[in-house]
């Protein structure tokens, strides 16, 4: 094992009340030469204020194009045990629920084949295993995918469907308006091929939240954001409302005045909601969850186009399907996704996300390709600019 180097800068990060990642690396380093060298290389990064990882490099397991991210040190002569220090992405169970048996199995295998370091979780959602050598990838995957109980598969990386993720959902949250955990599991299985074999212009992400609180940040982090919602009236338990007020809850200040559409009123005894003007923002329900519940006509809003800044600037997903019923086997949603991906695959340039492509070619072309009708819910306001296109069949052709 490489001799333990002194890490005075990193040691500073073991002070203070918040749990320290340095302590975690040190714990792993007790049994793992690569975690030991990671510590040494990181200390050097702290000295000279730069990372010491080289560019990617292709590595993987048989039959898959993604799921492993190659990582090589740019100073292997100093830190031979992190000469290779690849990342493995494991596809997490929906909602990040685990039993300890499943987690312990991963720990045992990662002790055998890797550095003993992990991310719980990466921000795409996967269970991320940090640091192994090329020759360990296949044996690790052979074992992890053959576990008798709770076998794991790889997640996505590269120009493919990235590992879908979802919020806590109906298993633990009263706000869940769709079955996020089931939908996430179902879609992940349905689209295994897209997940594991990169063949698209670039990455595509799906994230699912059970309600407009959007606990998985789907609107900002995924090309396809699915958020549970409802169409009918909010259910009010007037007794429970009165109980809140009796306990001294400031219903006027904290709920009525903060309703963005000003569609609620409180006469000291009855709470009234003008549901036709409610935009289902969730505020009042969040604040008084014992008294208010979403309606029963439930489904999801689908938003499209969310992405981070590279290339053309950051975008948030926008409404593309205001309401879709979402019940197994989720056929309508799957057909929509297939059509959208097919159009993107045919028309997209390398490294162009679907939202960027829609902006480049115009939403009217996308809507036509996937068979969606334009509706006012898709825009904040109609266009102001008078340069617009007509389809040939809409004008008189000679």
């Amino acid at each position: 094992m490489t001799e333990a180097k002194k890490t005075p800068l990193l040691d500073e990060l073991e002070k203070g009340p918040w749990p320290s990642f340095v302590t975690e690396i040190k714990k792993a380093a007790a049994n793992s030469p690569s975690a030991q060298d990671l510590l040494g290389q990181l200390e050097l990064s702290y000295e000279d204020k730069r990372g010491h990882w080289k560019h990617g490099g292709l590595v993987g397991v048989m039959g898959y194009g993604g799921g492993v991210i190659g990582r090589y040190s740019d100073i292997p002569e100093q830190f031979p045990n992190v000469e290779m220090f690849h990342t493995i992405r494991l596809n997490q169970p929906s909602g990040w629920y685990y039993n300890t048996k499943a987690l312990r199995q991963i720990c045992d295998l990662w002790e055998k084949y890797g550095s003993g370091l992990t991310n719980l979780h990466g921000s795409t959602g996967d269970l991320v295993l940090l640091g192994t050598r090329t020759e360990n990838l296949q044996p690790f995957f052979d074992e992890v995918s053959n576990l008798e109980e709770h076998p794991f598969d790889l997640g996505g990386s590269g120009s493919n469907l990235r590992t879908p993720s979802c919020c806590a959902g109906p298993a633990r949250c009263e706000f869940a308006l769709i079955d996020t955990t089931d939908l996430c599991h179902d879609l992940t299985n349905e689209f295994q091929d897209y997940l594991h074999r990169p063949m698209w212009p670039y990455k595509s992400k799906i994230k699912i939240s059970g309600c407009p609180n959007d606990c998985v940040a789907s609107i900002a982090r995924s090309d396809f954001s699915i958020q549970g919602t409802w169409r009918d009236d909010i259910k009010i338990d007037q007794e429970a409302v009165r109980a809140y007020v009796a306990e001294g809850f400031d219903i006027q200040g904290l709920v009525i005045d903060k309703c963005p559409t000003k569609c609620m009123s409180w006469d000291g005894n009855e709470l009234t909601i003008d549901n036709a003007n409610c935009t289902r923002c969730m505020h009042c329900i969040n604040k008084m969850c014992k008294a208010l519940r979403p309606g029963d006509d439930r489904g999801a809003t689908i938003l499209i186009g969310g992405k981070a800044p590279i290339l053309q600037g950051a975008m948030m997903g926008w409404v593309i399907i205001p309401f879709m019923k979402l019940e197994p086997p989720y056929t309508e949603l799957k057909e929509f996704l297939e059509k959208a991906w097919e159009w993107w695959d045919e028309n997209g340039k390398t490294r162009e996300r679907i939202g960027e492509l829609i902006l480049r070619l115009g939403m009217r072309n996308f809507l036509r390709a996937v068979g969606l009708e334009p509706v006012p819910q898709m825009v904040n306001a109609p266009r102001a600019n008078p340069f617009f296109f007509w389809w040939p069949e809409e004008t008189v052709q000679d």
């Binding site: 909602g95 052979d142 009263e174 295994q192």
Partner: protein, 354 residues
């Protein structure tokens, strides 16, 4: 050893749920925050599920995982979950187990909190620990900031929720661009070209196409490229495509701070974070300037916001001009957008404040 089984998909979530979650799936009625970090969900059936939320450094060892598994075995029938912000949630179905679990977590110095009007765990990326393009570290800054803001994790005394996120480069693995406070590593200089090796390692058409501002031109003479310095805004995308255009520059790489973003639709809708501080130096190991700046923003907001007002709502009420006045942050040419659609951020009304 057997051959790998491919495309088996993720483990089935149903096998990972404690019995109480299976029995009350879709039947939860409401929840309450009993105290910071402890939730109770109450079902239509009357069942009660307690959740104890604990912070984690996200980068954790298998030793840590085994330790929390021991706790889950002892108090939660062997079940736990993780949140989208890297917290660990212990799912406790026996009320009597809550206090002993809290006591053991305290003894192990694993902090409990992150519920209600608090700062919860900081979503972040890999940084120098494991990525090839970072302008700064991730875990080190997060640790330093959370140490300083610790009391806001373990209490619920803020006016509303506050979400902090960090990304170590403009790739922004982690949607930092919609957070109350976002910490973002930035490069500030044009990539240095290794003309010698470029044609051996990189495809020139792909490289020129990778630049969002068309700053890159082929240089046929050198079988390489040139970068028009006045067009480059240091996004690092070319470096991602080609190691021979080195963007990392330890003398100039730095940290920027963004504010007023949010994700949820609650009250005002989702919105991007906006630039508050264009430059803070990279000062490992504890980034005192960054920690100070974040703390200042939290405290100014906490002192001025109305109850229930997120950072974005507070700023919307008082206006950006007042935001810069109250925080004492200088407004510079960096704050005025000059990328695509910049003009959508310019003011087209005579209504403004002095």
């Amino acid at each position: 050893m057997a051959q790998a089984r491919t495309d088996i998909g993720p483990p089935l979530y149903k096998d990972m749920l404690p019995p109480i979650c299976k029995e009350n799936y879709g039947k939860w009625r409401y929840h309450e925050i009993i105290k910071p970090g402890v939730l109770v969900h109450v079902s239509e059936t009357g069942a009660k599920l307690y959740t104890v939320r604990a912070g984690s450094p996200r980068l954790v060892s298998i030793q840590f995982i085994r330790e929390i598994c021991d706790l889950a075995d002892k108090y939660c029938g062997g079940y736990l979950r993780f949140t989208s912000r890297h917290n660990v949630e212990f799912l406790v179905s026996e009320e009597a187990n809550v206090e002993p679990l809290l006591a053991e977590l305290a003894a192990k110095k694993i902090p409990v909190g992150g519920t209600g009007n608090s700062i919860t765990n900081i979503v972040h990326t890999q940084g120098w620990v494991h990525c090839h393009t970072p302008a700064t570290d991730a875990s080190g800054i997060v640790k330093s900031v959370m140490d300083e803001l610790f009391e806001y994790f373990t209490t619920m005394k803020l006016p509303a929720k506050l979400r902090i996120a960090l990304a170590c480069c403009l790739n922004m693995c982690g949607a930092v661009h919609c957070s109350d406070i976002a910490i973002l590593g930035i490069h500030r200089t044009v990539p240095k070209i290794d003309h010698e090796n470029l044609h051996k390692m990189c495809e020139i058409p792909t490289l020129t196409a990778s630049c969002p501002t068309a700053a890159i031109r082929p240089n046929p003479k050198l079988k390489s490229i040139d970068i028009k310095a006045d067009r480059c805004m240091y996004c690092g995308n070319c470096y991602t495509m080609c190691p021979s255009v080195q963007i990392i520059d330890p003398k100039n790489d730095a940290v920027s701070i963004w504010v007023g973003g949010k994700i949820s639709n609650s009250r005002i809708g989702p919105r991007f974070s906006r630039l508050a501080i264009p430059f803070l130096p990279n000062n490992p190991p504890r980034w005192p300037e960054v920690v100070e700046a974040v703390k200042h923003l939290v405290e100014v907001w906490a002192a001025n916001a109305q109850p229930g007002e997120r950072m974005a709502e507070w700023i919307e009420r008082i206006s950006w001009e007042k935001f810069f006045e109250i925080t004492g942050l200088p407004f510079t040419d960096k704050h005025i957008d000059d990328f695509t659609l910049a003009q959508t951020t310019f003011r087209c009304t005579t209504q403004f404040k002095w």
